[in-house]
Point group: C2
Chain length 310, copies 2
């Protein structure tokens, strides 16, 4: 029995996970990220002890507790070197949680934990190697090679969203221009949607925007399905960029699986079809069998399961 914690900017979610990667019990509390570090970690500790109590598991009997946290971990030290979301610098997360938890505490980046979760129990089950790309506010990445998280000498790798695809293009939060994140994130899709509304003020998409007072990825996909040509062009353009970045990753890694995470997963084959077709047609070596490309299956549970098995 293990516990995995998915520490997010909004919520702390944790789950008791058995050795078959089933989540037996889950709980969550708000992060309230502006609180002192110690208070947040105390709540993480309480969440662990609550889960144990609820499921009548002796905390000493846990194999381990793992944390998937946003930011760059200094794993050897058990610290978060830097987290934008939580505004933490050199935060001794493992040491602090160890005050409440009597078993080994392990730490990794949240995207890496989610990738491991999908490999262990989700869309990439049975894959020895997998790249998880999460298309959300930004584009996150998790790399699993040989069944283990790969993140480079300083644990700062796997930033697949921060690879320039459109040289000199849109400014990215990282300071560069034209990063994949600026073209393949949900944020980018919405930006493209707004641009289409401005260019086609009489389109159905522009009406949808007016009715809803805003646009989101779901509304743009829906408008496209309802026959709106402007929305369809946005989706085509967006999926082109998503697929170009995935083709790049396939040419580099040729992993057993590529898993796409984020809210866009709800679109299933609507996105997988065009992406698979683009990758097949554009990959460098066309004489080999290609990676499986799938949508993530576990949603937020991926991070919990992955963290439990760090």
């Amino acid at each position: 029995m293990r516990i995995g914690i998915d520490l997010g900017g909004t919520n702390i979610a944790a789950g008791l996970v058995d050795e078959n990667m089933n989540i037996l019990c889950k709980g969550s509390v708000p992060t309230l990220a502006e609180r002192p570090f110690e208070d947040i970690v105390k709540d993480m500790g309480m969440l662990v002890l609550d889960l144990c109590k609820k499921m009548e598991v002796e905390p000493f009997g846990l194999t381990s507790v793992g944390i998937g946290a946003p930011g760059t971990p200094a794993k050897e030290k058990g610290e978060i070197l830097f987290s934008n979301n939580l505004n933490w610098h050199n935060a001794p997360l493992v040491k602090e949680l160890q005050k409440y938890v009597p078993v080994p505490v392990k730490l990794d980046n949240d995207a890496n934990a989610a990738a491991l979760g999908e490999v262990l129990a989700g869309a990439a089950r049975g894959s020895d190697s997998c790249i998880l790309v999460t298309l959300g506010t930004g584009v996150g990445g998790g790399i699993i090679l040989d069944g283990k998280v790969y993140d480079g000498i300083n644990h700062a790798g796997a930033e697949v969203g921060h690879t320039v695809l459109v040289s000199g293009g849109e400014p990215c939060s990282c300071g560069r221009r034209g990063c994949w994140e600026s073209y393949a994130s949900a944020t980018a899709l919405i930006r493209m949607g707004h641009a289409a509304c401005a260019a086609h003020p009489d389109s159905h998409l522009a009406e949808v925007k007016k009715e809803n007072g805003k646009l989101n990825g779901y509304l743009i996909f829906k408008a496209s399905e309802e026959g709106c040509e402007a929305a369809k062009q946005v989706i085509d353009q967006y999926l082109f960029y998503v697929a170009e970045g995935i083709t790049n990753l396939v040419n580099i890694f040729q992993p057993a699986s590529v898993v796409i995470g984020g809210g866009i997963c709800a679109q299933g084959e609507r996105i997988l079809g065009p992406i698979r077709s683009h990758v097949t047609g554009n990959v460098f070596c066309k004489q080999v069998s290609l990676p499986e490309i799938r949508c993530a299956e576990l949603g937020n549970d991926a991070g919990i399961i992955g963290a439990a098995f760090l």
Copy 2:
């Protein structure tokens, strides 16, 4: 004692290598790539036996013979699945060479072998992880992780040159547009040089082109050093693209070393300075120590040494 063979489109080079990664004796013969496969492999076999004879080494006493070959290897089968340069399809290279060589024959892609050579005995000595990018006619890649060649489930990975950097840009030999190869290869540098001559027909660079009847990378660097503003702009632009691609690779891999190979290595600090500075300023995580960025040290010997230790 081992023998490494670097099979190129023009020459077959081989070397007898000791366990300290010193090349004790080298030899080479022309590939004459249009010959039948069997004839080429026979010459490889003769080269191995010649080296043994010359150095008074019993062929049976070799630990192994390794081949770095262009194209995509099917390592498990000991075949070259596909090689553009040699026009080979499913060529049973290991089996054929085994007719002449009485010890185990190993096979990998030439870029992978060169990367392994630089890690074992060259610019990345002591690095556990290394990305080798060779800026030549194209842009080749070799990835070493955990001291071993990484090339994905089908050995077709590590094609770092075929990652789009300039979406919709120059057509690439692989069929896509805007691949890094089309902006960071020596071929791309020369293309940029020609464009600069056309745009600035009165420049020193244009004179150099006229005098020499052509342009090459060396001439463009030389014209820049001689104060030609047009040539300097070409070099700046070219190094920007090289550095953008390397920054992408650092954000993905954070390897211990990045090694730059190809004729451009002769420029040493002239290229390393701007590249290092660009990577440092543009990498995603600025709170960590970054990979060493160096020029390759072993030249063509890298492929021989790496092949010997496959």
